[in-house]
């Protein structure tokens, strides 16, 4: 993450090293020329490309008693408008001690049925293409996939598809009606989000299966918005390679996450498939595509291994969101404050930058100020601010107190930004 504003949430950059001015981008990568930009021609990708679309898996960590995996991958979102690959360039080295690869068919638009006899058209009708703008960066977009789980428009997708985005929309079946989307809640730790298509009713839904009955070797069908191209969802077939996998995913910005309990699938899935259904031979959704392990080099990218959140786990989180409580769930959409915060702090969260037009900037907060409380939560450092923000949702009005560089305290009431269209 750079000091450049990329979203309206509080985010942080490490403090500058001694002797460097506040606000300088700091990191080992800039301190050592060997960490400089790559020498190959610059990617055509715009600088505003989203963090989510570039996420790449840096590790596949197997569960106990099974082999570790290797290779790179990505979380499967892509930029529809920018139409660039996720540029994840590292061929996979699948499972040095674990399962091998079993070849699968390539990606193709669905045409009504799959080789396994699954009625693809029926599932397609309950699949949506999700598109959104990256908060704070209007030139960047993110696209992914979702599946309709209630006729009133509840859609299950990955958190990383909607994280840090605004103006989310969803189009049914790639060519059907497009809806504005409201985020009902999410679980970042498990990369699950529940969103709602505004004003929807009478929609077809996917049929849910039981992921606990999955076994290695089971054949699955993966449906998604491959490469964010939109249109009729793409379909690939795959085979369950392992269960209960732990993976760490990252991207070129350094953002990373570690996910556990994942289904490993041998399948040629693509960026943009994130949030899409993985379907068993009975046409039931048993997993949600979440990440891929790359195989290929240069600007070619195919993923021969994918990772999915088991549907039982996803639905458990959905039910927690519906009930308004859960160990890791956030209810409502993310609250966006519009500040970059220097990591650490002792007398408040030090503002490194603000996003023009964001809630913090509108309140008069400027770089160098220290946020000392928000919404009744005392803030002494960056952690406190992050933790406090988890208590709020977009659109909520909260009191915020900060101290300016002269030591004067200020308090204002702000309306936190929202990731989605207002209802």
């Amino acid at each position: 993450m750079t000091s450049e504003m990329q979203d309206y949430r509080p985010f942080e950059t490490p403090p500058p090293p001694p002797g460097e001015p506040a606000g300088a981008v700091y990191g080992h990568w800039s301190a050592d020329p060997s960490w400089g930009p790559p020498s190959w021609p610059p990617s055509a990708a715009p600088s505003g490309r989203s963090r989510a679309m570039r996420r790449t898996m840096i590790a596949l960590l197997a569960a106990a008693c099974v082999g570790v995996g290797g290779g790179a991958g990505w979380a499967l979102t892509s930029a529809a408008l920018t139409n660039h690959s996720t540029a994840s360039l590292s061929p996979g080295t699948s499972n040095p001690n674990g399962s091998g690869s079993t070849g699968t068919g390539g990606t193709s638009p669905s045409n009504g049925s799959s080789g396994s006899g699954v009625d693809i058209a029926k599932i397609d009708a309950a699949v949506v293409d999700i598109n959104a703008a990256v908060a704070g960066n209007p030139t960047a977009t993110v696209s992914g996939t979702g599946m309709i789980i209630t006729s009133s428009g509840e859609v299950l997708t990955n958190n990383h598809v909607i994280d840090g985005t605004v103006n989310i929309t969803a189009q049914v079946d790639g060519t059907g009606p497009t809806y504005k989307v409201t985020v009902l809640g999410y679980d970042a730790a498990d990369d699950v989000a529940l969103v709602k298509l505004q004003g929807a009713s009478g929609l077809p839904t996917v049929s849910l299966g039981d992921s606990s009955k999955l076994s290695v070797g089971d054949q699955l069908t993966v449906i998604g918005n491959a490469l964010g191209r939109g249109g009729t969802p793409a379909v690939v077939s795959g085979v369950v390679a392992q269960l209960d996998q732990t993976v760490t995913a990252s991207d070129e910005t350094g953002d990373q996450e570690t996910l556990s309990g994942m289904i490993e699938l041998t399948a040629d899935i693509q960026p943009g498939d994130s949030g899409g259904p993985e379907v068993n031979s009975a046409g039931q959704v048993v997993g949600m595509t979440t990440a891929g392990q790359e195989n290929g080099s240069g600007r070619q990218q195919t993923a021969t291994t994918g990772f999915a959140v088991p549907i039982n786990k996803a639905m458990q989180i959905v039910n927690e969101i519906r009930s308004g409580s859960g160990a890791n769930v956030h209810i409502g959409n993310a609250a966006l404050l519009g500040v970059a915060i220097t990591s650490g702090g002792v007398n408040g969260a030090l503002v490194q930058n603000t996003s023009a037009g964001g809630p913090a900037a509108n309140a008069g907060i400027v770089p160098g100020d220290r946020i000392t409380s928000i919404g009744g939560h005392t803030v002494t450092n960056s952690n406190d601010l992050h933790n406090a923000m988890e208590n709020f949702s977009g659109g909520q009005s909260v009191s915020i107190t900060w101290t300016d560089t002269a030591g004067t305290s200020h308090t204002a009431t702000i309306t936190l930004g929202s990731a989605t269209f207002p209802d």
Binding site: F11, W29, N328, H386
Partner: protein
């Protein structure tokens, strides 16, 4: 993180060489830990979690004497922590070795050795957070 795309691509290049296949689980795990911990950027809760669990893996390896790779089976149990993981990011340089050094290693033995040196340097680069990481491991009865 202005030059991170370079690191990211170099890491991909490293993985592409496939030496994990021959160097084994330990090298695989240490490479993963080293890269993740060396690329701690912003303390978004997911970043905090991932960085913390990989630092815990390094701690278990270099301080508790776990065989490299043994933590592979443990990390999945560390991903969820009530209240999330603390922000461990500091302005230290997290290790003198980088993925560039690993790329320079020729052959499985050199690769394995370099990966271990890289991982150890990253762990040492996080010295200011060692106590915090030990406490996190202690929450799981380790240490």
């Amino acid at each position: 993180m202005t030059s991170a795309p370079g690191c990211w691509a170099l890491h991909g290049e490293l993985v592409a060489r496939g030496l994990d296949w021959v160097a084994g689980r330990g090298a695989y795990q240490l490479r993963t830990d080293a890269y993740a911990a060396q690329h701690a950027t912003n303390p978004d809760p997911r970043n905090r979690q991932s960085v913390a669990v990989h630092l815990m893996s390094l701690c278990a390896t270099f301080e508790l004497g776990f065989e490299p790779g043994r933590t592979t089976s443990l990390i999945g149990g560390w991903t969820h922590r009530p209240g999330g993981y603390p922000d461990l990011i500091s302005n230290e340089r997290h290790g003198d070795l980088t993925v560039v050094d690993a790329l320079a290693a020729e052959g499985a033995d050199a690769y394995r050795t370099t990966i271990e040196r890289w991982a150890r340097s990253v762990w040492q680069g996080w010295a200011a957070a060692h106590d915090d990481i030990r406490r996190l491991l202690a929450e799981h009865g380790l240490g």
